[in-house]
């Protein structure tokens, strides 16, 4: 069946999950028509970008069992690559290509070096080393202000087809004007789907199986004749490449990039939360996790505001429900999911589905 081939044979295996995934895909594809307004479109675009980013992190964390804190570094490299190239070369497709190409090369080189040097050591050391490297990179990016714009970041123009000023037709279609913004959005959605299916292909290949074997028992995988260091490094390189592409998408969508939008440690924490809450070791988890997290990030605050005002009399409870404290609740959910359902939402749904049949 073509559907199964498209998903590389890795079907959702749960009716609820399937419905959710279809709903998310439909929701994203129809956002410009169903939910008018700039905020909804931005949220949908952010979800797309983070699906790619979180899935690429899952390749590393969920499938290979490596904790890296340098993932936003590669995300940032992608975003800076596009930003710097378009800023220097002006708005052209050649600029986009040069930016993405240079960023990919840099990411590949860096991830290869980090991987070969430090993937031999224990998980703890790798986590610490990547944390240190990422911090240094962030400092570097904000210091090289001639190249990166420093703390202020870079604004730039995107190729005309994607810019808001471009118009495909005079007449709006179903009440939505057919401008460059809409084209960028659909480009984003298409690239996201393609990259996601590609990653699904990778993790369901024989190569992906070896990665899972390493995650389960590195010693045994080595004994079976697989060079674990090599496979780990490959996993690191691939995940860095996808993160770089996600960064490039982010820069193209925002037409801006700075240290806080793509390099900050907060984003690293966010993607860690998304991957774990959604479900590690299954790429569908990253779709669910990213969607849930970003919707919560953008809309839970409104809900909490209501709740917080309702608690007007009780001081501590009011502060706990303050809209700025949304991360507290997601943090608690994160801790609970690491204990209670380490396979995340997707794992839970799949177990349930297995129990019924």
């Amino acid at each position: 069946m073509i559907f199964s081939r498209l998903l590389s044979g890795d079907l959702p295996r749960s009716r609820v999950l399937m419905v959710l995934l279809i709903a998310i895909l439909a929701g994203l594809a129809l956002t410009p028509f169903a939910f008018p307004g700039a905020k909804a479109l931005n949220v949908a675009a952010k979800i797309c970008i983070f699906i790619v980013l979180v899935a690429s992190f899952d390749l590393l964390l969920g499938y290979t069992g490596i904790v890296s804190f340098a993932h936003t570094m590669f995300f940032g490299i992608g975003a800076y690559g596009v930003a710097i190239a378009l800023n220097r070369m002006g708005p052209s497709w050649a600029g986009v290509a040069v930016g993405v190409g240079a960023a990919l090369l840099l990411s590949l080189g860096l991830s290869l070096v980090i991987g070969l040097f430090s993937l031999r050591v224990k998980a703890m050391f790798y986590a610490m080393i990547t944390l240190a490297v990422a911090t240094a990179f962030q400092t570097l990016a904000s210091q090289l202000s001639d190249l990166t714009g420093g703390e202020d970041g870079l604004t730039f123009k995107v190729p005309e087809l994607l810019s808001p000023g471009f118009s495909l037709s005079e007449h709006p279609f179903l009440g939505v004007s057919l401008d460059g913004r809409l084209i960028s959005f659909y480009l984003l959605v298409t690239v996201t789907v393609v990259l996601f299916l590609l990653m699904l292909r990778i993790v369901n290949s024989p190569f992906g199986r070896v990665l899972q074997a390493i995650r389960e028992n590195a010693f045994r995988a080595e004994a079976l004749g697989y060079q674990t260091v090599l496979y780990r490094t490959w996993s690191n390189v691939l995940s860095a490449a996808f993160a770089t592409l996600a960064g490039a998408l982010l820069a193209l969508w925002l037409r801006y990039n700075g240290p806080d939008t793509s390099l900050s440690f907060e984003i690293m924490i966010d993607i860690l939360l998304m991957v774990v809450i959604g479900g590690m070791g299954t790429l569908y988890g990253s779709v669910i996790g990213a969607t849930l997290f970003i919707i919560v990030q953008n809309y839970l605050q409104d809900l909490m505001k209501l709740a917080s005002e309702g608690m007007g009399k009780i001081p501590l409870l009011r502060d706990l429900l303050h809209p700025d404290r949304w991360l507290l609740w997601l943090g608690i959910l994160f801790v609970l999911s690491v204990y209670r359902f380490p396979t995340g939402i997707v794992g839970k749904l799949r177990t349930k589905a297995r129990g019924h049949s």
């Binding site: 240190a132 860690l272 943090g331």
Partner: protein
């Protein structure tokens, strides 16, 4: 193999381990190397003192982290939250004692500082106890989950601190008598740095004494070397570990007070920002080694201050450079701990 060797006298059976002196020499060598570069003796004295003070505070914070790792292979990514907690408690305590902190008398200032430090240590220790129970105990021996869960604990901890104290930066002024500097000839040494060095040396001495002269210390050191052997001799390493974890958290709280006063402004994110520095220090020292942690902290402090004066741009990366150089020389850190 050597079953036939004759029985040796007891004193020979336990040969004294020779102290590895080379890392100890690093500090004076580094300081002397910096002397001609800084140009003047007075600048050098000021910088060296600033570096030592910073190093001492880092040591107070990092010592618990390295011991906890040595004993149980637990690396607490949430250690930073205890620093933040200590600093915020200090604002609350010192804020209520403005009469004494703003007095000119050193004695009164100290009488305000001591309760602030004790409160920070007590609360951080208590929170550490709960943290160990709730966050760390369920995931012993699962490094992947440990990293994630301690990170999660940190997120929740920081958010709770924001709930209690607010999310904005809070000024933490030094008590009056601690401000300003003392002049030694041409060299100016800030009073607070002097105090940090004294407190740091005090903590180091007590810790050294406990670890090398008491039975608990012996067990801790033995546990770091070989946990299973200590357990098989009938000691409950789990309890020992809880004790070390609580002590480490309390020290982080104390370090938070010192660090907060050093920075003079505190934010809920300060602990997370120090985390990277702590990891660098304990990697340099050799994971699990207190002596290595002490030397590592002082090295980091000195290098940061010398580099900050000589080449401010390089100073931002000086810690990482230092780590890379040390690891190229000794891949396991200055004082590698046996089993690792």
């Amino acid at each position: 193999m050597n079953a036939s060797t004759p029985t040796t006298p007891v004193q020979d059976a336990l040969p004294q381990v020779k102290l590895d002196r080379i890392p100890l020499l690093l500090l004076p060598v580094l300081a002397l190397a910096a002397l001609p570069l800084t140009g003047s003796l007075s600048t050098w004295v000021t910088l060296t003192f600033a570096g030592l003070a910073m190093g001492m505070i880092i040591f107070i914070i990092a010592s618990g982290l390295t011991l906890v790792f040595g004993l149980m292979d637990v690396l607490n990514f949430g250690h930073g939250v205890f620093i933040t907690l200590g600093a915020f408690l200090a604002t609350s305590v010192l804020g209520r004692m403005t009469g004494w902190t703003e007095s000119e008398s050193l004695v009164r200032n100290l009488m305000a500082m001591v309760p602030a430090m004790l409160a920070a240590m007590a609360v951080a220790g208590a929170v550490g106890f709960a943290f160990e129970r709730l966050i760390i105990r369920p995931v012993y021996g699962q490094p992947l989950k440990q990293i994630m869960i301690t990170m999660g604990g940190m997120i929740v901890g920081v958010e709770l601190i924001k709930v209690l104290w607010g999310a904005q930066a809070i000024p933490l002024p030094l008590p009056t008598a601690f401000r300003g500097s003392l002049l030694f000839g041409e060299a100016a040494v800030e009073k607070y740095r002097l105090i940090s060095v004294v407190v740091g040396l005090g903590v180091f001495t007590v810790m050294f004494w406990v670890l090398s002269r008491t039975k608990v210390g012996l067990l801790i050191r033995a546990g770091v070397q070989d946990r299973e052997m200590v357990e098989s001799l009938g000691y409950r390493i789990g309890r020992l570990f809880v004790g070390v974890f609580v002590a480490g958290s309390a020290l982080a709280g104390l370090g938070g007070v010192m660090w907060g006063l050093y920075q003079q402004t505190i934010t809920p994110e300060m602990g997370g920002q120090v985390n990277v520095l702590l990891f660098i220090v304990i990697i340099i020292g050799g994971m699990g080694s207190v002596g290595g942690c002490f030397i590592g902290s002082l090295l980091v402090g000195l290098v940061a201050n010398y580099a900050g004066f000589l080449a401010p741009k390089v100073a931002l990366f000086s810690n990482i450079l230092l780590m890379v150089i040390v690891l190229m020389w000794r891949p396991e850190g200055l004082y590698p701990v046996g089993k690792r």
